[in-house]
Symmetry: C2
Subunit: 277 residues, 2 copies
């Protein structure tokens, strides 16, 4: 049974979100989704660094790491810690409240939200045998000023996720409006060609996730060279192996996109164990 | 002095927005900004029709017109009516609350918000002499599935609005990533060439506003033919007259974009009086 999410707003369980919050009005903010183990966020320095960079990209001053750590301490219990429980933490940082109109107030006070929710229970076959993808019809629009940032303007992901209801499909592959492979709705993607590991260039759209960054850094342990470059859908289909990754799943091997299949191999398993070290 | 905004959430002054609301999480919703005169929304049938269409475009069932009208009645007072006061109403409709993840819940209950705020006080020179525009560096990304819709993913408008602080600039002209003129951050745009009135095609991006729709319908009264088509920045500069429009300003004549100037003429004034009839 899933536990109801609990949340802290600006460090308090009793605060609420105003409809004048610019996160609500305009999606004027950023977020992070993290794995929590024993009350602590996994890969926190990378997540915090990314949160600061994403805030800066849209002109928001990110709350301090200390403030966010004190939120974790408040929202995760002694039992979480003692039992080394897995959970999910989502941090949302918005520009704060403002009057009507796109112009941000001269002085803003960012809103910070920490939401704790249950760790999703994935079928064990996902890690063992891999997952299936749907090729989304919804394309990612190209906007260099917002590319790579995990901002709150996520309608494209929502529309893409609404395209399939088959429970056997884990995620949806998204292309940009020029038909390049970018990512999945909730994960980044890698393709292996012999000893070369390729992940799409995200300079025009997509979210540059922390696990993607870690995999790029770990590839040499598996004697893989890495390259970040544009990847066409035809390029992807030619790969020897494909994996997807995010902070909750680590990595899963991709066995199919629509009718195209790959024989599941060991790439995702190898990276999953490296990511856990 | 500006009056503090008041708001109703799902018909109640005491309700709050949950941080689990998908409007806050993903910008998963739409909105409208309307002029209120004497407690009644101006052009309500057109606004409601647009609200229903925008909701439908992203799979949200719009609350009934009756429910929204009862919100107006609650949030606007007998004095507003008696004194025929001008004010601004903003309606926000989101997909409602949901658990973490882009997939909408199987059953959703939309969140509706009505925010009442003071009518902005524009200098009288804006209507008399026209307004100046800044040419924004921020481009509008192209996404046919969201084009024309007034959805809550408005970071591009926010970034564009942050580009200037000069109070003498009224709005910012936005081009798309292929350098076509689309709109301003908070208004639509029209260009007159002899007896032809042109407004940009919004099939790839932009917001198709109600006042734009009304002007297209009223042009023949001024013996103008209309055309909706792609407009390059060079095309715009060649226009005899340019105007911008939205539900609050009606229309203002444009006198300049950056260093390019037009001699203010009567187009905006003529349309403004037609719009009021």
């Amino acid at each position: 049974m899933s536990v109801s999410p609990t949340y802290l707003i600006n460090g308090s369980f009793s605060h609420t979100i105003s409809p004048l919050d610019r996160g609500f009005s305009y999606g004027d903010g950023v977020f992070r989704t993290m794995l929590m183990r024993g009350g602590l966020p996994v890969d926190w320095p990378l997540h915090y660094q990314k949160l600061v960079a994403d805030c800066a990209a849209i002109g928001i001053v990110c709350p301090s790491a200390e403030l966010l750590m004190s939120d974790f301490q408040q929202n995760f219990s002694a039992e979480d810690i003692a039992e080394n429980r897995l959970a999910v933490a989502k941090i949302i940082i918005t520009r704060g409240e403002g009057e009507r109109g796109y112009k941000p107030p001269a002085v803003t006070s960012p809103t910070r939200v920490l939401i704790k929710s249950a760790m999703p229970e994935y079928p064990s076959t996902y890690a063992k045998d891999g997952v299936r993808l749907h090729l989304c019809e919804t394309r990612l629009s190209m906007q260099a000023k917002l590319a790579g940032i995990k901002h709150l303007n996520r309608l494209e992901n929502v529309l893409a996720r609404m395209e399939w209801s088959n429970e056997a499909i884990f995620d949806g592959l998204m292309l940009d409006t020029q038909e390049n492979v970018i990512e999945c709705t909730m994960s980044n993607i890698f393709a292996r060609y012999k000893n070369l590991l390729v992940t799409p260039d995200l300079s025009q759209c997509g979210v540059a996730g922390v696990t993607r960054q870690r995999i790029l850094g770990l590839a040499n342990v598996l004697n893989l060279q890495t390259e970040v470059k544009p990847v066409s859908f035809a390029d992807l289909l030619k790969a020897d192996e494909v994996l997807i990754c995010n902070s909750l799943i680590g990595t899963f091997q991709v066995v199919s996109v629509n009718n195209h299949t790959w024989q599941a191999q060991a790439l995702a398993t190898n990276f999953r164990s490296l990511l856990r070290q």
